[in-house]
Structures are given as C-alpha cells and as structure tokens.
Symmetry: C2
Subunit: 230 residues, 2 copies
Amino acid sequence: MARHDDTRLPRLAVCTDLVILTVRPPSVQVLLIERAQDPFAGRWALPGGFVQPEQDLRSAAQATLVAKTGVEIGRAHLEQLASFGHPSRDPRMRVVSVAYLAMVADPPAAIPGSDAKKAEWVDIESVDRSALAFDHPQILAAGIERAMAKLEYTTLATSFCGSEFTIGELRSVYETVWGTTLDPANFHRKVLASAGFVVPTGSTSIKTKGRPAKTYRAGSAETLVPPLQR
Amino acid sequence: MARHDDTRLPRLAVCTDLVILTVRPPSVQVLLIERAQDPFAGRWALPGGFVQPEQDLRSAAQATLVAKTGVEIGRAHLEQLASFGHPSRDPRMRVVSVAYLAMVADPPAAIPGSDAKKAEWVDIESVDRSALAFDHPQILAAGIERAMAKLEYTTLATSFCGSEFTIGELRSVYETVWGTTLDPANFHRKVLASAGFVVPTGSTSIKTKGRPAKTYRAGSAETLVPPLQR
DNA sequence: AAAATAGTGTCTTTGAGACATTATCTA
DNA sequence: TAGATAATGTCTCAAAGACACTATTTT
C-alpha cells in the first residue's frame, strides 16, 4: 500500500494547461503559444504553468487565462477538463497536468508573456495537432470534444458571445462549432422557448444588412432542457 | 511566471480517490473505508492511494479498485471524474487528488486491506456525507451527480448489470439511481430501439415470478441517441 | 426595387407517454 | 386459477423540422 511518509515521495510537480477557445465565424480558434524554453523550445503548445504552493488549481488556471488573453475573469468561462499524468509526459520530471477548458468572447490579441516567443489565436482546423508539445494533442482533442458536446445540453454557447448578442449571433456560434447549418426560424423559437437561456435587453443591434435584431443577454440557466440538437 | 527548476518546487504528492458505485435495488451503494491511520483515523473515507513513481493515474486508480472490490478489471467501468487540489485539503502536506468514478455489478464483500479497519458497501442515502474525511464529501457528490447524469445519454447503466441481464433488471438500475419509476412497456421499446445499447443472447433468464425474460449483453454503443429521460 | 436578415405561422412527421392487451411463467 | 412479470399494440399529444410568409432594414 502507498505510504505517505513524504521523504519517500518522488519529486513531482503539478501544472495546469489550458484549452482556451473562441469563436470567430466561420472558425473556432484556440490560443497557442510558441515555447521559449526547453523542453520543446520553438514548438507550439497550450498555455499553462506550474501550480504554486498555496495556489488552488483553479486559481492557477485563472492566472494563466488572464495573463494570456487579457480578458477579465468573470467575462470568461473556465471549467476543469481532465488531468493527464502519464509518467513520461514531461521529459524533465514527473508533471501531472490538470487541464482546464476556457471560453472567451472576442478577445484581444494574445499576450506571449515571458515563457513564450509568440502567442496566437489559431483556427483549430489549421493546427498541426500532432506537432504540439507534450501530450497537448490529446488535451486539445479532449477540450474541443467537451466544448462541442456541452453546447448541446448547456447554455455555454453564450460565453462565446459578448455581453449583448442577437439570436443570429448565437446561432452562428453553434453553426461554427458544429460545422453545420441550422434553420434560423426553428433555432429562434427553440432558444426563446428554453427558460433562462437568454433574456431580452430591450434594444436592437445595428447591423450592416437586413432587419435589425433584438439583443439579448445570457440568462441564469446553465442546463438546457430540452437540449438543442446538432 | 512559474519556474521549473525542480529544487524550488514545493513538496507535493498526487493521489487518486475513488467513488465506486454499485446498484442493489432499491439502493445505490458506495464503497467506503474506515481509515486506519491519521489523519482522520477512524473516519469514513473514499478508498484511494498515492500515485507511485512510474505509475499512470489510471493504473493507480485501477489498483485501488481491484484491491478494494476484488472485481477483475474489464468487468468494471472506470473513468476519471475530476481533480481536487485545494492547498489545505490534506493536513499532512499538499496532496492533489485525481478522483475516479467506478461502477461495478454485484460485487463481493469489500476488502479492507492494510490502510483500513473496515471496508463496506454503504447505501448512499444513509451516508453521513459531511462526516467523510478530507474533501471527500465534495468528491462523493461529484461522483453521484456524474453517474446520474451519464445514465441519460450513455449506455453506462449496463455496467451496473452482470454480463447477462434482462430489460427489467436494466430498468431497475435506472429506477434505483434516479429514484423514479419508469413505464416498463415504454422502457422496453426504447432500449431495444437504441441501436447498439443491448444485444440479445438468445437465452432467457429463470426468475422466481412471472414470465421468463430474454437476456441481453451490453452492446457496443457508448452514447445513447436519443437519450433516455429521467 | 432588390437583397438580406429577423421573426412568425403552419403543416407534417416523429417520438414519448399512457395504457390496454397478450404471453408465459410460478405458487 | 390467480398472480406476477415480459413483451407487444395502439392511441394521443407534444415537440421538432420543413418551409412559406411577413417585417424591417441597407444599398
């Protein structure tokens, strides 16, 4: 059985890695950094960092999220994704990664910071996933899959929209993430029929084309009953 | 930014804790141990253990699962649940716990092993959740919630059944976990209509009462389209 | 006016639930 | 035979999708 005598415990670290997504129709984008240091210097990777002593896992993820996107907490969705702990996933030493999934709306340019040469929003279609550092191909895949699935049965899509949005903008989030087209009329009715999904602001948006649309804010509901289907 | 110079990294360990569930109508049961050692000696807790060097997270969880239940791998469902890493969740030192959720069918008596005075299957209704050691109340809640949710849109319920089961047995899993009653006729039709949910064995089960039921094995599908509703 | 998008109305089809009916066993 | 559970059939109602139609803007 495992002992907890800490002098016998191996050297080990915990980090967080983030799959930060945004939707810019017709693309879903992920924030990637080009690593400044070894291991994997020069390679693209998910942003992340070691969890500091006395730092909660979520706080660590939040710190990375804010540092890389420049987006205020509270204007982004952040949830734990999964943990990855293969003994040799990091060549330096054993590092268990607690991955987080974040969604932000219309972020400014990504911020490289000290650990990256570059930081960029990249279309997920054009990412050479297998070239990512560490086991980040796996983490990215898990993040994208989770995001796609959660759109169906949660109100998460609103976190890809700004504070005010039209039903058409919300629909384009779904269409972009799922790579499908949805009937505008039926989508409209279904969204308004889901209690707590969106609340009207009373004003309308000015667009370049077509009839101006009423705008909405995200509602208080988190789950979508009934779910929206793909 | 985080440094990776390992001499500066704090002492830290990673463990796995398991929410192991089984269904014995009319109860859902969870495997709990009574801790043999401090901290929390004498208190009930989820089974778990430290992750050993060179041991994968899943392997660590699997080892605990087999050790406590006596069930062969392959006859149990095991999935990662979430990670819990509050800095003071363990009074000894910083310990990040990667929690796993397991489901087993009709297990034998639980095995205490060396780290527990007792190990028992306990009805989840009768667990004094707030008395559990560490942050295990939170982990248990997350496990139960996940299990209940996944019955709806996955074929997971079959992992609470033996290798061969009747539709009625499968239905009682749903009824037990959700605490509801389901229409036997409609349930029957919906299960058989879900492609890949169950496959007929060709034989029938002998029961004490009523007409003998055809038996089925778990099918190859993992997700349930359309989902079964509560 | 034409084009584009927002929003509403309506019809059809599908699927879920309620419940009756038939089948096959044990006590 | 009575009672119990399995399995099938049928009816009704509600929701989803297809699509026609109206509304309001820009060019």
